[in-house]
Structures are given as C-alpha cells and as structure tokens.
C-alpha cells in the first residue's frame, strides 16, 4: 500500500509496515521536548500519576530547553526555572540546558536542530505548538499538552490519529525578494487557520528544496497556524549535511510514495508570488505588501523560532546595511549560537551585528521574548496601540502584549524594509 512520508514515519514508530489515515495508533516516541512554561505542570502530573519517586522512561530522550520567560524579574517565571532545574537534577537528565549557565541555548525549536536532536525518520513530541518546526528535517514533530507529555514521560508512548496529508508544491526559482515566510503566509491565506486541522502539511517542489535548512524550518513552523498536526519536508542532501554536522546518530530517510493518497494538492509558481503580510488579527488575513504599502508602523520586530534564525538576519542585513531605522526595531536572535553568529557572519564585509547597530536597531538576548507578549518587563512587548511589523508567527489579539496593538506578520525582508521607512514597505524597493 502506498504511503505518505508522514505515514511511513508513524508506521516505523508504531512497529508496523503500514498505517492507514484516520487510524488511532500508539507511537514509540524518540524525543520529548519541554520548556519553562509547560515543563513544571508536566512534571507535576508525571509525579501525581506515576508516583513521587517514579523515573522517566528514558532520560536521554527528554530534552528540556527553557526559553519563554528568561530575562524578566517576574518571580513566578523564576520559580518555573527552579522547578525545571530540580526535576532535571532528580531525574539526572543529561539534556537540560540551564538558564544562567553556558549551557543555556535559547528558543527550543531552533536549539533542537543546533544540538542534533532533529533526526530524519524519528518522532518528536513537544509541549509547544511550534514543535512542528522540526518537520523540516524529514521527521514527525507535533505539539501536545502537559497531560499527554506526562504520559510520554512515564511510558515513552502516545496515541495519535494518523493524519491525511495535504501537499504544497512550489515550483520555479526562488526570487531574491521572497522568503519562506511569504510562501507559508500565501498558503495560510488560501486555506485559513483551520485549513489543515488534524492533517499533515507536506512541502515539496524545486523552490522548497532550494531553501536552506533555516528557511525550511520557517515553512514547517507555521503549519500549526493552519491547524496542521505536522509540517514536513523530506530530507535531501542539504538536510543530511546539516544533520551530520550536528549529530552522530543514525537516521533513516523516508519519501512519500509517488502514488500515495493526498487530501489535496496545491501548486504554486514562486515567480508569480509576491511579498505578503498577514494583517491583524489572524495569520490567514493575507494581503500583498504592495496593497498595504504606506501603512504606518510604530515598531519592527525580527526574532522568534519563525523569524530569528541566522538566515532571517542575513536577509534583514541585506536591507539594513548603510540605512537607518525610523521606528524602534528589535533584533532578537533565537539562540545563543545565532547571537554569536551575528558577531562573525558578514554581509558585504561588515558583521551583521555592526550592520544592525549602525542602523539603530536594539539587539536583545536570545529567548522567545515578545513573540508571545510575556511578563510586563519583556523586551519588545507591544504597548497601547502599537502597530508592529513582525517576523513572528501569530498576530492574535493581544499576542505580543497589548490587546489594542495591531501586528502584521511579515518576512524578515519586509520587516527590515518597513523599519527603514516607518511604513509597510515592499522589500523590492530596496533590492
């Protein structure tokens, strides 16, 4: 029987040759990810259900990456870090990345890749909806709640309904003014915020395979914004090179069968697409930047698991080099490694850090920061009636802090171009 890549990976995890869509199957989990917001309640449930002295099913497979509320004076947030630290110590978890030490990494989805936990063919669950980001590595990654995570902690297993797949094919050579963010916002505008609920979103086509790993992660990251269970891109030579550079673990590459069944297939020619934004207050509220040209903004924000990777900053630097921003602009590297790379990676002979500083941007410490608002003292948090152009993933009411603020989701090119003019601006004006 023909299967999609997602079915094949779930078959492997269920010790089966074939799993059918719609079937509920028990999966053996390769990695469980958690962080400072959902880790403490997950550990509570684990102790309550399995006993105060219970041990997790496999300490090597539990990855704890605090990243949400890190650089804040909020006492409750500090307590959550203490609870992670305590559990990691009790359970002797080797993959705990403590805040305030040189082990601290930053935003979990990007750090997972950097630390070599993204392995093609494997199954990852995480207590964060953007766990789907890891699908960029030809693996299954999906978000779950605390109770499901506690169940995995004790058993190493979880039930899941095998999803139908939707295929999104991007043909043509990627133009320099388009980013992965434009592609995923294009899809969201077409299918809506529930267009892929309970389904896999598989990305394919020469334009997708021309993208670096960072950009593939952006595509898969926002699968959840369409309600998708997972986003996935089959591994190729680019993926293999990345995985080999970050891990020595064995991996298995799966491909969809040519005759596999799909719920639906969407085809795009990237040469016909243009830079887009998602207008307030929903990621599917798409408009071309051209049609919104001139909309005044009060802030530009370049950061998060979606838009705070090295490639995002390389793209922003292309536009910001030798220019001045006219609105407050936050540069928030996703991880410590990305932050370090800003100091050594260059564009036209100048480091990205210097380009951003000379342009008048403020560079923050790596964490989730204002992507989800956070405590009142969070860097870049929206206030009052801010109008923000942001490379993040959600623009729900109040998402970045203020309920009265408006957030336009955009690519790093568009966010940088708009920072320079103080208005929504098509990046083609600067390229």
């Amino acid at each position: 029987m023909a299967q999609t890549i997602t079915q094949k990976i779930l078959s492997r995890a269920a010790n089966r040759k074939f799993v059918d869509t719609g079937e509920n199957v028990w999966l053996n989990v390769d990695i469980l990810l958690t962080h400072d917001v959902c880790g403490p309640p997950t550990f509570d449930i684990f102790k309550q259900e399995f006993g105060p002295d219970a041990k997790v099913w496999d300490p090597e497979k539990v990855v704890v990456l605090p990243d949400h509320y890190i650089f804040t004076a909020n006492e409750h947030a500090h307590r959550n870090i203490d609870l992670l630290r305590q559990f990691a110590s009790e359970q002797s978890l080797p993959n705990y990345y403590d805040v305030g030490t040189d082990r601290y990494k930053g935003v979990c989805h990007v750090a997972l890749a950097e630390e070599g936990f993204n392995i093609p063919g494997t199954v990852l669950f995480g207590t964060d909806s953007h766990t789907c980001t890891s699908g960029a590595f030809g693996m299954f990654g999906s978000g779950i709640g605390n109770t499901d995570a506690a169940f995995i902690l004790g058993t190493g297993k979880l039930w899941e309904k095998v999803p139908e797949s939707m295929k999104f094919i991007f043909e043509g050579d990627m133009p320099e003014y388009l980013c992965a963010k434009d592609l995923i916002l294009q899809i969201l505008g077409d299918i809506g915020t529930d267009g892929a609920t309970y389904r896999a979103m598989e990305f394919d086509g020469e334009a997708v395979y021309s993208l670096p790993v960072d950009e593939r992660m952006t595509l898969c990251n926002m699968a959840i914004e369409a309600g998708g269970m997972n986003g996935i891109i089959a591994a190729d030579a680019v993926t293999e090179a990345y995985v080999k550079a970050h891990s020595s673990k064995p991996y298995e590459i799966f491909q969809s069968d040519p005759d596999a069944d799909y719920h639906s297939v969407y085809r795009y020619n990237v040469r016909e697409l243009e830079p887009v934004v998602a207008k307030p207050h929903s990621p599917d509220n798409r408009a071309t930047v051209r049609s919104m040209q001139g909309t005044k903004i009060t802030k530009s924000y370049i950061g998060s698991c979606t838009g705070g990777k090295l490639t995002d900053f390389m793209l922003a630097a292309k536009i910001l080099k030798g220019k001045q921003v006219t609105v407050p602009t936050n540069i928030v590297p996703a991880t410590v490694l990305v932050a370090r790379a800003l100091e050594c990676e260059t564009w036209e002979g100048v480091t990205l850090k210097k380009i951003f500083e000379d342009a008048g941007c403020s560079i923050a410490l790596p964490s989730c920061a204002a992507c989800l608002g956070g405590p009142a003292d969070t860097v870049g948090r929206s206030a009052d009636q801010d109008v923000v152009v942001s490379t993040t993933n959600r623009n729900f009411p109040g998402r970045m802090g203020s309920k009265k603020a408006e957030v336009y989701l955009a690519s790093p090119l568009t966010a940088a171009a708009s920072a320079v003019t103080g208005k929504l601006t098509d990046p083609r004006e600067f390229l």
């Binding site: 309640p41 307590r79 605390n146 109770t147 169940f151 529930d194 956070g374 729900f396």
Partner: protein
C-alpha cells in the same frame, strides 16, 4: 460521571485562540497550588476583546471582575475553537472558572486533545452553527447519553456530533484514568 450538564451559556465567535482563553502573561502561575490555581479562573477568557465576549450583545465578561468563578457553565462558539498554542492552561482555566462543556463547530487539534486527555471540559462538536440561536445567559441542558443540547429558554433541542472513540476517555475522566482502566499503562 454526570449524564446531564445544565447551566448558562456563554457565546463566542470563531477562531477563539489560546491567547484569548488565557493570555500568555498568566502562564506563570502554579497549576497545583490551590491559591494560585484560582487565578486561572479569574483570567479565563480575559484575552477576548470585550465587544466579542458574551454574544450577541457583547461586552459581557466571562468572569465578573474581582471574582474567580464564572456564572456560565457551557461555552458556545463557532469554528476552530482553541487554535494557537499547546498550553494546557487553556482548558484548565475554563474548568477552574466553572465551565463543564464547550459546544463549538470545530476545534484545533491540541486544544481538543488537552480537553479530553486532561479531563477538563467536554469538547462537543455541532454540525449546525448554534451561535446564532443561543444567546449568552440562556439556560442550556446537555444530555450526554442522548448527545443533545436543549435551549431551555426556547425548548429547542439540537443534536451534537457523537464523541466517538474519545467518549471512553471522557467517561473515564482523562487519559490516565482510561489507560489504567484498559491496562495500557501496565504494558508500557
């Protein structure tokens, strides 16, 4: 488990995301300390823009300011309820505030799983939009065995979609209770 859920309706629109259900700044409170848990009740649905809360009239808060408990037991909403983040704090906050069931046109996957596996509130689906025929404050009665919801103000009964496979987890009270009952945890 009770077979009847009766109480007042609180009506919302579509795409009620988890930031509206419990804004991210409140995710820092303990989910086990009884005093802090109350705060989840206090802030349940506090991220909903005021004019969109308590439809059709709007500007009706789910939880009266200064209190920790809602007067409303059943939430009625449009499609894609619970979209957004994986925070289990969302269905938990609704439960703490006193909600027992949601009747929506559809749900986001993680929120739905969290409701069921955590045993917080029962997520019923309706194929017929009910947000136009039920008003905030209407007294509703859900019959769990019959899979129906009745608006006691008008005496009109609507059929809900069957919970299917998930009903046994709902009846057990969550995934742990279900797994013990079915000996699934012993196998692992």
């Amino acid at each position: 488990m009770d077979t009847i859920i009766q109480g007042k309706a609180y009506v919302l629109g579509k795409n009620i995301d988890t930031d509206q259900i419990i804004p991210a700044e409140h995710l820092v409170y303990s989910l086990s300390d009884p005093e802090e848990v109350k705060l989840y009740g206090k802030y349940a649905l506090s991220g909903v823009p005021p004019e969109q809360g308590g439809l059709p009239q709007g500007n009706i808060p789910f939880v009266t300011e200064g209190t920790f408990h809602s007067d409303y037991t059943i939430i009625v909403a449009g499609p894609n309820f619970g979209c957004g983040s994986s925070r289990e704090h969302a269905p938990f906050a609704l439960q703490v505030a006193g909600a027992k069931a949601i009747v929506a046109e559809s749900y986001a996957r993680i929120f739905y799983r969290n409701c069921v596996d955590g045993g917080f509130v029962i997520p019923y689906e309706t194929s017929v939009p009910l947000t136009g025929v039920i008003k905030t404050g209407d007294e509703l009665k859900i019959d769990i065995e019959a899979n129906t919801v009745t608006n006691l103000e008008t005496n009109i009964t609507f059929t809900l979609n069957p919970l299917g496979d998930v009903f046994s987890i709902v009846r057990a009270g969550g995934i742990f209770a279900y797994a013990r009952q079915e000996n699934l945890m012993a196998q692992s």
